[in-house]
Amino acid sequence: MSKSVKELLSDKEFIRKVEKLKKLYPEERSSLLALLHLCQNEISYIPHEFQEFVAKELNISPAHIKGVVTFYEMFFDKPKGKYLIQVCRTLPCMLAGAEILLEHISTKLGIQPGQTTPDGKYTLVNVECLACCDKGPAIMINDNLYTRVTPDEFDNILKELK
């Protein structure tokens, strides 16, 4: 189980990392993306409490932070599953069968894109280009890339995930 945001913000080690990142840039506010990544790496998503914390740290309005968090597909403002399954929906992958694959994954896991399984294990999302247009359909599960994925292959990959 990962930490709650409260625990995170009272963790001295974490705050030290925040301070360090802030100093890394000529302008403090430039550290925003780095700080958001830091939080997401620690607790898998970026809760509103953390967004408010960053807003104060960098003297930016909380609304602006929300704008940044929601702008990037890679950031999550809600808790996500242990495994994040990203399915490319850009044209070349679609032509190579991404649509069928997505439908298969959706039925298999019983969730729609944007949802998380009730046991908190899988989160399914659509993403734009994963930069593997020549090897579609492409998916990414956490940090691992899989290409030319067929429905059967996906079932095999799923078996590996604990």
Partner: protein, 562 residues
């Protein structure tokens, strides 16, 4: 300073201004959405695309500065830039931008509050295409979102120009708004648990070029093309924001700020704007009323004033009289009060109740009435706030309160105690206030929006207020009441106009001296003097010649009278 040829016309572009600003300044129109003269420049909407000769693609005029070229590089030996705003290429781009903006727009103009003053409608008509290539189902986005106490948002109508966001970041510096998500999914939102509630929030609806932001107090009230506009001034603090009052069938539907660089710029505060809502709920009484056997009964005008005048004219020593005046009185009203006071009491009485409150560093001033500056010019005495009401009234026999609800929120027994020595209590106000209900004589006055007049703001800036709606016959501006009373006095042969006239000239001279010092005489003769004289026939024979030794003269016949 650069010289630019724009559609064959020469314009000058200063180094600190953009092409769009320079063009607009020199009456060349380029369409734009995201640019707003009081906000930062973002180049967000692409509506202002123009062709710059030599540039590989169209450029946004709102972000283009024009550097001066060295002599040998000048175009046609003369120009620093050559611009086309009406070429086929530009027109094609404008059509394209509008088509994109309308791609997912619901086209719900028939039920949209902005219809009639919407920049999407206006530009579609002027620069748009009558059809769209889009053949798919439109994307849906949040509608009727409650952004705050006043503002409602419709993401489907929003063109993401970010004016509202920049307003909150740059003008109010409260930063409530942001764009969330990306691409076609983008829309304006607030942070969780926060809302758009700054004291200027309704200005976002003014600057929103489309129907995406509307405010609850005006939503669905009236189609804008039925509204009748009258220019006036906000009465709620000494800033005196310039406003436009939109009415329909004699009712104020909304108030919007009117651009005035030396007073309020483009904006006004929500509190001032919503004064029209507050006065809607106030109790009014249209007819003068007289207390008899404990009850305040409406009376016929003439009879009422005859009784009043016979009871107060030269019946009390000035030391037994207290008059409470208000910063809500226009210059004309203040001046006519002085005349009234001179004739009825033999000298100029009166205490202007000085009411202050919160201020901010945007527009709101601490003086909570419009015309304190005028009252200062008219040399009237000031008394600070309600605390001192008791002291003003204590031991007096006749008390007159004009345009101030002096007993608001004070318990009846306490009021009675304050008034214990008072034989006659006269209240004149636009509303039938708590104070009015305690009076022996109640005179209904026209409200700020029901009369003509002038007012000075904190900085001695003179502006005109206008009759935006007509009051019912019984409610008159204070100067009309004075005129009526003075006419009756003539009839009743209680008069002492000669000495009054002399004193009046004295006081006018004094006031004019102040004006001269403050340099507010530039626009010709101050209008109040003429107005007052028109209202009060007995003073007609004071002419501008009487004032000639002061060096003032009427500029043009229509301001003067001989």
């Amino acid at each position: 300073m650069a010289l630019v040829l724009i559609d064959g016309k020469e314009i000058v572009v200063n180094p600190e201004e953009t092409l769009l600003q320079a063009a607009l300044r020199q009456n060349i129109y380029i369409p734009y959405y995201c640019y707003h003269p009081s906000l930062s420049i973002v180049g967000q909407c692409r509506m202002c695309l123009v062709k710059v000769e030599g540039a590989p693609k169209l450029l946004t005029a709102c972000t283009t500065y024009v550097p001066e070229l060295p002599k040998e590089k000048k175009i046609d030996g003369k120009y620093d830039m050559k611009i086309f705003t009406k070429s086929e290429e530009v027109k094609e781009a404008q059509r394209g931008v509008l088509e994109f903006l309308l791609l997912n727009h619901p086209l719900d103009c028939p039920i949209c509050d902005q219809a009639g003053e919407c920049q999407l409608q206006i530009y579609s008509y002027e620069y748009g295409n009558s059809r769209s290539e889009f053949r798919f189902e439109k994307l849906h986005a949040p509608k009727r979102v409650d952004l705050g106490e006043h503002i409602v948002y419709d993401a489907e109508r929003c063109i993401k120009c970010t004016r509202c966001i920049r307003f909150c970041n740059e003008v109010t510096k409260s930063g409530e708004l942001t764009l969330i998500k990306r691409g076609v999914h983008t829309y304006v939102d607030t942070f969780e648990g926060k809302s758009l509630n700054n004291p200027y929030s309704i200005c976002t609806a003014d600057i929103c070029p489309v129907g995406a932001l509307t405010y609850k107090e005006f939503r669905f009230k009236e189609r804008v093309w039925f509204l009748q506009a009258t220019n006036s001034v906000c009465p709620e603090c000494s800033r005196n924001c310039s406003i436009r009052v939109d009415t329909y069938k004699g009712e104020i539907m909304r108030i919007v700020p009117r651009f005035n660089p030396s007073v309020n710029g483009y904006f006004m505060c929500d509190y001032g704007r919503l004064v029209s809502e507050r006065i809607k709920n106030k109790e009014v009484r249209e007819i003068p009323s007289l207390r008899e056997k404990g009850i305040l009964e409406p009376r016929m005008e003439k009879g009422f004033y005859k009784i009043l005048l016979s009871k107060i004219t030269r019946k009390y020593e000035p030391k037994d009289v207290a008059v409470i005046l208000s910063g809500r009185m226009t210059n004309e009203e203040l001046e006519s009060f002085k005349v009234f006071s001179l004739i009825v009491f033999g000298e100029i009485l009166g205490d202007v109740l000085y009411i202050t409150g919160e201020k901010d560093d945007i527009l709101v001033k601490d003086e909570k009435r419009a015309n304190y500056c005028g009252a200062k010019f008219f040399d009237l005495k000031f008394t600070k706030a309600n605390e001192n009401i008791k002291n003003i009234i204590k031991g007096k026999k006749l008390v007159i309160s004009i345009r101030e609800d002096i007993f608001k929120g004070i318990k009846e027994e306490q009021v009675k105690e304050i008034l214990s020595s008072v034989e006659i209590f006269v209240v004149m106000d636009a509303f039938f206030t708590e104070t009015a209900k305690m009076s022996n004589f109640y005179i209904p006055l026209a409200s700020w929006f029901e009369m003509e007049g002038t007012t000075f703001n904190y900085d001695a800036h003179l502006q005109k207020i206008s009759k935006c709606v007509s009051p019912p016959k019984g409610r008159k501006p204070f100067y009309d009441v004075v005129s009526l009373m003075l006419n009756l006095l003539t009839e009743m042969e209680i008069k002492d106009f000669e000495t009054a006239k002399e004193k009046e000239i004295e006081s006018v001279k004094k006031v004019l001296d102040t004006f001269k010092e403050r340099d507010v005489m530039k626009g010709g003769f101050v209008p109040w003097f003429k107005e007052v004289k028109n209202a009060i026939p007995q003073l007609k024979n004071i002419s501008l010649k009487d004032l000639a030794p002061l060096g003032f003269s009427a500029k043009g016949k229509k301001d003067g009278d001989n």
